[in-house]
Each structure stands twice: as structure tokens, then as C-alpha cells.
Symmetry: C2
Subunit: 335 residues, 2 copies
């Protein structure tokens, strides 16, 4: 490979000092328009590109951020990442992407690599780190935004963005109760999932608020997948044929539930209503189209990045520890 030209090469070719070239390429005012023109032209001819690496070393700023998520193939996270990258690109930041598969070791090593790369900030989604470990890593970053993960003490340079899972669940329950449902099952996802726990608590409290007696047998934990929804509903319906509506931990579980219901030659929503969570693209395309709670995923990504940029660039972030509200999208799977 041919060595890329440096600022010094341009300077020599233009017969000026390196500093003058620096001023030209950085649009600093203190330079005559014509020398600047001339230098830029020479730089172009030489194919000069400023080295962000060298610049970063001096400024101790990399215009780079990291985003850490469980899995980019999960549409929930890819939407968030898209929002993040859109705003990053608009502000000339670059984004390091790290997948963790919810494996704490991989999350830790990814975080360490971002630290060594000296990112200006990091966005952590659904972190599975323990409280102490998380707090300790957070300290090492200049700034951080947490999405979908609470911590006990929020350091000054950290912001937290979350979804109001309890409210979302309550909107779903209310929707069903208003339509006359009294036996509402809940396929609750993995038992240790934090958002699952919040949704479960919303389920219980909202049923209570509506004066509906609680039957713990109507709640089943399950894998957060199509198969998880299908198999778990199978067992649940066998044991509880009185059920007329099924709430689901996420859309994939809901789509599995739909399949199980149709397999039994029951009809949706006439015999059984189904509600999902997340509003992934698939939700609108299955048959019947799925009523679900839309989480504003891309918006969350955009806001997270906006906050991070404000933090990095020393502006006063307008947004603090935002809580996003889900929106009930009523489609064909509920009556």
C-alpha cells in the first residue's frame, strides 16, 4: 500500500507550515481565503485525508461511540441501533457495534475493547451485568446512556432511558377488560427477564384495579420465541379452557400463540384474543394482524444518541432519564 500523505506532505508541496495546512483543513478563521483555497486544492491532488487517529490522540476525543446490545438480528435492537446510527452519522460520529448474546463475559470484553478504543461515550442496551460490575465499568466511560436497564445510583455522567412496561401491560389489560374478557392468560417470558417482571407486576395490579380475581395458573413463563409461545399456550389451554384472551411477553410469543389457537380450529378474535408486545415488523403481516404494544424503538435510539452527543459536547442535555410510553396498536387479533 502507498503511504498516505500527511499534513507535512501537503505543507511542503504548498510551501507553508504544517500548522497552516491544519488551519485550512479545519476551517479555522485565522487564514487567508486564497492560501486556504490553494492548500485545499493541493491536498485534493495529493489525495490527502486527515488522520482521525492522530487528531484523537491530541484532542482526547474520538468522535466515536459504542453501542452494546444482545443481538443485532433481533428486530427490537436493530431498530434502536438504526436510530442511533442515523443521528450519529448526522453529527459525524461513528458507531462501534457489539453483540453480547446476553453472555456477561462477552459483554465485559466488548466493553473493555470500547474503553481501549477510547470512545467518547457508550450506549448499553438491556445490560446483563451485575449492579456492581456495571457501576464500575460505567465509571470508566466519559459518558454513558443506559437503555432498558435500571441502576440504583445514577452517576452524573450517565442517563437512563426506559420503557414503561407496567403501563403498557395495563393498557393491554384494560383493552381486554373493556371488551368483556375476564379470564386473561399471560405468557410471561423468561422468569428472570426484567421487563418480564415489570409486565407481570403490571398485569397483576391492573387486574386488581379492574376488580378481576387473580388466578396464578393463568400465568406461565416461557421462552421468548415462537416455539415458546406455541408450546406454553398448548399446556395452558389444556389446563384452562375458560381463557378467552392471551397476553404475550413479545410478538414472537404471540405469533406462536396464534398458531396454536388456529391449530385447535379456534378462531381469532371470536374465540380467543391475542396481544403481543414490541410491534416488530412481522406483527402487522401475520394473519390475523397482531394487536400489540408498540415501543418507539427507533425514537429511543435517536434520543439516546442525542443525549450522548449533548453530554460529550458539553451542552446541557434537554432530556433526562426519559421514560417512553408504549402505544397500543389495535389490529385484528383482538375484538
Amino acid at each position: 500500500m502507498i503511504k498516505r500523505p500527511t499534513i507535512a506532505d501537503v505543507a511542503q508541496a504548498a510551501g507553508v507550515s504544517p500548522q497552516t495546512v491544519s488551519r485550512a483543513i479545519n476551517n479555522k478563521g485565522e487564514i487567508s481565503a486564497e492560501t486556504k483555497e490553494r492548500i485545499m486544492e493541493i491536498a485534493r491532488q495529493l489525495g490527502f485525508r486527515p488522520s482521525n487517529i492522530a487528531r484523537s490522540l491530541v484532542k482526547q476525543q474520538t468522535t466515536t461511540i459504542g453501542i452494546v446490545i444482545p443481538d443485532i438480528t433481533n428486530p427490537f435492537f436493530s431498530e434502536i441501533v438504526r436510530g442511533v446510527e442515523d443521528l450519529a452519522h448526522l453529527h459525524s460520529y461513528n458507531v462501534f457495534l457489539c453483540n453480547t448474546d446476553e453472555v456477561p463475559e462477552r459483554e465485559l470484553s466488548s466493553i473493555d475493547s470500547l474503553l481501549e478504543k477510547q470512545v467518547d461515550g457508550v450506549i448499553l442496551c438491556s445490560s446483563r451485568l451485575e449492579e456492581v460490575e456495571l457501576a464500575s465499568k460505567l465509571k470508566e466511560f466519559p459518558f454513558a446512556v443506559l437503555i432498558n436497564r435500571e441502576i440504583e445510583e445514577i452517576p452524573e455522567k450517565v442517563r437512563v432511558i426506559s420503557f414503561d412496561d407496567r403501563l403498557g401491560m395495563c393498557m393491554a389489560v384494560t383493552h381486554l377488560v373493556q371488551r368483556g374478557h375476564r379470564h386473561i392468560a399471560f405468557l410471561a417470558g423468561p422468569e428472570r427477564s426484567r421487563s418480564g417482571q415489570k409486565r407481570l407486576s403490571g398485569y397483576y395490579s391492573c387486574l386488581k384495579d379492574n376488580g378481576i380475581s387473580i388466578d396464578p395458573g393463568l400465568v406461565n413463563f416461557c421462552e421468548p420465541s415462537f416455539e415458546g409461545g406455541l408450546h406454553t399456550l398448548q399446556k395452558l389451554l389444556d389446563a384452562h379452557p375458560e381463557v378467552t384472551a392471551v397476553l404475550c411477553y413479545n410478538d414472537l410469543v404471540a405469533i406462536g400463540a396464534i398458531r396454536e389457537i388456529l391449530t385447535r380450529n379456534l378462531s381469532i378474535p371470536a374465540d380467543l384474543s391475542v396481544i403481543g408486545f414490541d410491534d416488530i415488523p412481522m406483527a402487522a403481516l401475520v394473519h390475523p394482524p397482531l394487536t400489540t404494544l408498540r415501543m418507539p424503538k427507533r425514537e429511543v435510539g435517536i434520543i439516546a444518541m442525542k443525549i450522548l452527543i449533548d453530554l460529550v459536547e458539553g451542552n446541557h442535555p434537554t432530556e433526562y432519564n426519559k421514560i417512553f410510553l408504549p402505544e397500543l396498536i389495535i389490529r385484528g387479533s383482538t375484538n
Copy 2:
């Protein structure tokens, strides 16, 4: 923020020279085991982290690569990216993610930012740049891998990975012909899509090989979306009721086609067979489950990254300009 400790700080605390610390953290042999131990312990206490920025400036290597794709929310690309990041992480590389939305200006500015960040290499997916522009940018990277995009002259430091779209289409056509279909429609996707063109040419040549007369009216271009499939098939079926099978540009188009067919109270596959392309996760979950051509997306990502690492690290890459073959996944939408 507290200034992070440098190699010099550790050196001072340990009463040795910076160089010795460097040797310790880099596992160079020329250092006694005990001083190394001692230095590492002190480094740990101080919370020292090597600066990859400074290191990159010296070595002119960043252990960073870039991947440029149209849209991370498209499951086709998120799978590829996942494969790339998995292998990158395994080899301690970090990955810059850039979305282009197929807008050449955004692709160009993303590429420029990667160049300034001095990535060790880049992976370009489905690039929409013109031949000349692409060739010119490619020259600036140390190494590059192209996925799903041909170029006329392949520079020495560039590798090309593609999918055999023609073969895939031929597998689909043959599958249908063997089952007795003679009137096979093709919802061909956007007219300017390169993979669409390859599939179309496969469609024509394979029909010909099977001695089936070609009716250009059975080919309709369409948006590569659910709605595109639905609306285009609507028009096509109105004009050509003799059709008994529908090939689709991708799975989304196929799922739209399925919806249109079911809306007409026709049954699948009894009245009409449908085949998609890509095998996105949704394909297996719709009803009926979609017969489709699986592209080994994650594997492609892994291989692309493997080749890139080999290139960067000066190994002789075992793989050259690989062509991946699709696999026909037969499910319920064909008889």
C-alpha cells in the same frame, strides 16, 4: 472526568521505565517474569488501560474494520453483520457499522469517515456506487471485501463474495416444473436491482431449459415489500388467471403474495404455489410456512471477516472471490 493513567504513570509507580511497562502489557518475552507480574499488579491497581489510539498511531493499524450496508433493520443484512461481528470479536477487532439507505451520498460520506478513522479494512454490502467511484474509494482502503456487488477489475487487495442468484432461481423453477407447473409468474422486485436482474435471467433461462414457453406478461417488477407483493400479484392474477405458481423477489414480497391469494379464497398450495427468496425468520412462521431459497447470510458475514483478517494480518487467505449457493427450503407453500 479523571485523567486516565498512562504507561508513564504505571512506570513511575513501579520505578521502571515506560518501555518496561510496554513490554509487560504486550507480553513481550524480553522481561523477567517477576517484574512483569509486579507491573501488571500496579497497572491493575491504577486502573490502567492501554490506549488503542496511541498504539494505532504508531503501528498504523487500528484493529478496527468497517461494514457498510443499506439498512441494519433488514434481516438480510443484520444476519451478515452478526456473522462479521462474531468473528471480529473473536479476533479482538471492533466493527464500525454504517447504514446507507441505498443513498449514494450517504454511502460516500460513510466511506470517507471510515477512511479518516483509518480502519484496517472494509466490508461493502450491496454497494450502490458507480463503478468508477467504487473503484476509486476501494483504492484508498488497505483491504476490502465486497458482498453482493460485482466490479469489472478486482484489485489485488479486494475480494468479492456473491450469491448465485441464477442458480437459486433455477432451483426454484425446477422444483415447480417437476411438480407440473407450467404457468409460473415472477414478482421480480425493483427493475434496477442487480440481484433482481440475475434472478430474472435465471428465470428465463431455466424455463427455456425446461422447454416451457415464455410469457413476458407473467413477469412484473414490484417494490421489494409486503405491499409490493400484494398489489402486484393482484394485478397479475387479474390479467393472468392461468397462473399456478408465483416466484417472488424476496420473502416479504412472497408473504404479500400469500396474503393476496388467501384474500381471494384460493388455497395454498392447492390452487397456487408460492416461493420466496432469502429465508428471513418470518418465512417459517407465516401460514402456510414459506418455501424459499435460503442464503447463508451469517456464514457469508463470517467468511467475509475471515478473509479480511487474513488480508490484514498478511496471511494467505484461503478463500478467494467466493460464490455462495442458495439452498431450497421446502415448506408448506409449494406442493
